[in-house]
Amino acid sequence: MAIDWATVEHVARLARLALTDEERERFVGQLGRILEYCARLDAISIEGVPATSHVLPIVNVLREDLPAPCLSRDEVLAAAPAHEQGFFKVPRVLEAE
């Protein structure tokens, strides 16, 4: 399966990556080769094999509804690139209007 310039641009945008033309060209080639490799699986007959999203024979791993200790705010904000008044500070995002 071939991958085109526009698809790479779309995926880059969703990941908020700014690619140069040279990088985009390179990823068109690399991603295309990865998809071609995966396409070899199409040759295998999967008749009667159910779609598998989890390979472990384990279900229902649950925890009881008990509050546990949290991190201290100093620890939390130590990982923040910027903070203000106890909040994480991020480039302004607009909601709605």
Binding site: H10, R13, L14, A15, R16, P50, A51, S53, H54, L56, I58, V59, N60, V61, L62, R63, E64, D65, L66, P67, A68, P69, C70, L71, R73, V76, L77, A79, A82, E84, Q85, G86, F87, F88, K89, V90, P91, R92, V93, L94, E95, A96, E97
Partner: protein
Amino acid sequence: MERSEPMDPTGAGGGTREVVIGIEIHVQLLTASKMFCGCPTEFGAPPNTLVCPVCLGLPGSLPVLNRRAVELGLRTAVALGCRVHSRSRFHRKNYYYPDLAKNYQISQYQYAGHPPLATGGVLEIQVGGRPWRVAIRRVHLEEDTARLVHPAGTGGAASSLVDYNRSGVPLMEIVTEPDLRSPGEAREFLNALRRLLQFAEVSSCRMEEGTLRCDANLSLQPPGGPPGVRTEVKNMNSVRAVERALAFEAVRQHEVLARGEVVVQETRHWDERRGVTFASRSKEEAEDYRYFPEPDLVPLDVDGAWVAAIREALPELPAARRDRLIATFGLAAYDADLITATPAMAKFFEETVTLGPHPKVVANWLSGAVAAYLNEHGVEIDQIALTPARLSALLLLVDEGTVSGRTAKDVLVEMIAHDQEPEAVVEARGLQQISDEATLRVVVDKVIADHPGPAAEIRAGKVRALPFLVGQVMRATGGRANPEAANRLLKERLS
């Protein structure tokens, strides 16, 4: 089931097209900890104090599903008559926005072979006094997002602030089929669903606190024609706002079509102050959430025994509660409806009755004076300083003749306003009923002297003027005279 008449939902006579509404609600589940970690869910804590590596999405952390959240989801599914799926999974909804530190929300997406927790239920509501069944499309579990603050002013204009306390709090999403035909039906549906979830002890469902949020979509369908283009309306903070926003949107779409234009499929926001919906800025690209199964969570299997146990432990739902109150205490339908409007009111009623007062008297007070107070102040019964013990004590004072029924209503308001026992209010304000004849006779004589005309009529046998004089006695005593005694003494004096 047929409707008696086509609804004109807008009240604007907006043409022959039928309004078609579907509702999507999110409720916060009544858990002590978050969906996938042990951080507490309490409201109003200082920012970023209820977070841990899991809800911050730090590398190496792993989510573990909250059993209680699953149980509350199952309880809802059972209460709505849904089919619970024997296996459901969680999925990642990927998007780039700072309200989730992981850059994805864990939710339950629905596609072939991957059903959500439950599908295909029904909630019956009343439309014009008749039952109307609203189909429930699905019920699923997901996590809430962080709270974003956008400081105003030049200093803060370049940045937004994020509080991750709410991130990871358990949410349940309930989606209806497009079965509602007017904004009024949407209101009825929301009220009925809220009541059900409150009685089932699944969620507090307080829209003003954000524990119940509602999005609605609306389209106009020509008779027998294909469905119209729908718009989604968001940002309504009360049931009343949902009704108003939908009424506005129905009229707006009618007007668009009447101008020969087409309705654009879009998300619109409700502006409460201006009373209008407006289109959000359209996104630069189409939504592309790239859902895929959450590899960090194993499938959730629910067998028949688990569902049976949930059904067994289901709290009494509003309709059953109402019927029981009518059967057990002989309440009128109107009173029973009002008392089962909220679980807090129903509980208050039953607790008061166990303390001795006659059930019908309690019902009268709750649906009368107490309901009036709650409406006037916009509060619920569990938010005021009235307890079953205090109401019961007040009713005893009336029963004993210590205060008149009329005075008792003033005492009630004072009790609530000053957080006091009824006896203390009566004592402090000297509101005891006057039954002492010597005292009353002085008042009666003065009323007769002040109103010679009516007094003469009564002496002449025209008793029609008697209530007027009784009223004057009540007035002269600030409502404290025992009305029966006043009546009798006036007759004695004027015979």
